[in-house]
């Protein structure tokens, strides 16, 4: 046995490759963000910041909530023994497997006012009176289209995470509940949800982080339009840094963004009622 100090070093050495990598790739740039941040006085006057934050919050809230519900349903269905379950699971993962930047183009085509299949389908079903629906031209619809495309893409991510959580809930608990006379709904409320809480918290935090930083999808699908109604904070940061070449203010915006995320994660952890660390 090595003495305790050495042992601690050896233990830390397991984490070293990961820490070094993240240090190089994440921490240095983040440090630079703090160092270069500038133009704080412009923040309160920045109407575009306010509106993009608002849009991003709406987008994040909508996508994460819908994905959570759909993902949970999906996960529960996919855990049931089914013939051809492997294929079903692979099929479900396909949306996640398609490149966002490319799929966003496809969505643009699907939502196209003239040639789009979405309008045509709804028209054929009889839900709308004209196949020409300018999805991406109307603020509400454009946001809905972004949400739909994102939900479609990332629900499998959610489902996969929740599936591993669900699989860890012992069957005996359900059996016990059944003996106690709890129906499926009560079983869900009193066993599934509470026991899944840590997994849900984890999934929601990571999804919220991704969703809050949404970039490619909206960039390609709407470019932030119409009238800036789908302008997201990450697009704004990107524009500030790469188009306006205003790195200082871009860093400031990033810090604002990270602050919002920290706040959101805090809320999720608080709601989930326990910290995983």
């Amino acid at each position: 046995m090595k003495d305790e100090g050495t042992q601690v070093w050896i233990n830390w050495s397991f984490a070293v490759p990961a820490l070094v990598l993240m240090g190089l790739v994440n921490v240095i740039p983040i440090g630079q963000a703090f160092y270069f941040a500038d133009g704080f006085s412009a923040l309160p006057l920045d109407t575009r910041l306010v509106s993009s934050l608002k849009n991003t919050f709406v987008f994040t809230l909508a996508t994460v909530l819908i994905e959570l519900v759909l993902g949970l349903a999906m996960a529960m269905v996919l855990l049931k023994p089914l013939p051809g379950r492997g294929w079903v699971r692979a099929a479900v993962l396909i949306p996640w497997a398609l490149p966002t930047a490319i799929m966003a183009m496809a969505w643009q085509w699907i939502f196209n006012a003239e040639y789009g299949v979405m309008g045509d389908l709804l028209y054929k079903i009889g839900l709308v009176s004209s196949p020409q629906i300018a999805w991406l031209a109307k603020p509400g619809l454009a946001m809905a289209a972004c949400v739909l495309a994102d939900v479609w893409k990332t629900t499998p991510f959610m489902a996969l995470l929740l599936m591993s959580g669900l699989a860890n809930i012992p069957d005996e608990l359900y059996e016990a509940a059944e003996i106690d006379g709890a129906g499926p709904f009560r079983q869900f409320c009193f066993i599934t949800l509470p026991l899944l809480k840590p997994t849900i918290a984890l999934a929601v935090i990571f999804r919220a982080i991704q969703s809050f930083g949404v970039f490619d999808l909206v960039w390609v699908l709407t470019g932030g339009g119409p009238g800036g109604k789908t302008q997201m904070i990450a697009l704004y940061v990107y524009d500030t840094v790469y188009r306006y070449l205003d790195i200082g203010y871009g860093c400031t915006l990033t810090l604002v963004m990270a602050g919002c995320l920290a706040l959101m994660s805090g809320v999720v952890l608080l709601v989930a009622g326990r910290e995983e660390a």
Binding site: A15, K80, P95, I102, L160, F215, A258, L261, A262
Partner: protein
Amino acid sequence: MRPSPWARLFLGCSVAVIVVWSLAPFLWQVITSLKPPAEVVSVPPTYWPSSPTIASYFKIFENRPFGTYIVNSFIVALGTTVMCTGVGTLAAYAFARLSLPGGKWAIRAILLVALFPPTILIVPLYKLIKAIGLLNNPFGLILPYTALNLPFTIWVLMTFFKQIPKDIEEAAAVDGLSRWGTLLKIILPLSAPAVATTGILVFIFSWNEFLLALTFISRDAARTVPVGIALLSGVTIYEVPWDQISAAVVLTTVPVVLMVLAFQRRIIEGLTAGAVKG
């Protein structure tokens, strides 16, 4: 619990809905890829190509070295997956099981790092990758992809490792396994579902990443699929060649589906083996 016929019907319908929901936009790509270019923009859209053709699949290979792109994407995605799960497993194990003074703070720092959007990282990363001479090199992508996926990987694996009973590890120590051996022969196989799950997610992330791949790779021979698809061109620079893009999307999704199918057995096995109880 024997499901009633109604329950079975409900389950069947749910599965059908889920599969249709997941596949429909993709199938639309398949159909589009089989249409001749002119039909792609027809109004109203046709739901089946009037004269199906696979010309677009040949066109993408004429237009661009797609075979090379696919190989590159594979190298990058596989490299990232191996590196990320490898490095992530080590770290997660250390944080979950070894005595690390200050480990709790490190974990919080890792989560904090995940809060910063990758968009902002591009310029400093570009400088870094340039400085170590990895532009146009698959490792120029593997390194940042790995780092970007590490917080998530570590978090998931750590949660899973914590659930494995400690005395199994002790039994391994008595049996003669070192820390390494325990990690490789006991912890990893037991965590196969978690490792496979994160592996799939990381693989797909790396397969799809666009911005970094676009910025760090300028040599055509080193490019990856999503950038390659964005480079497909029509007759003019304004024209978007939908038929080819659809064909490329379909074509490049196939390897991912195969990958998922391969991994997916592990997930089922792992999840249904009664896992780590008793």
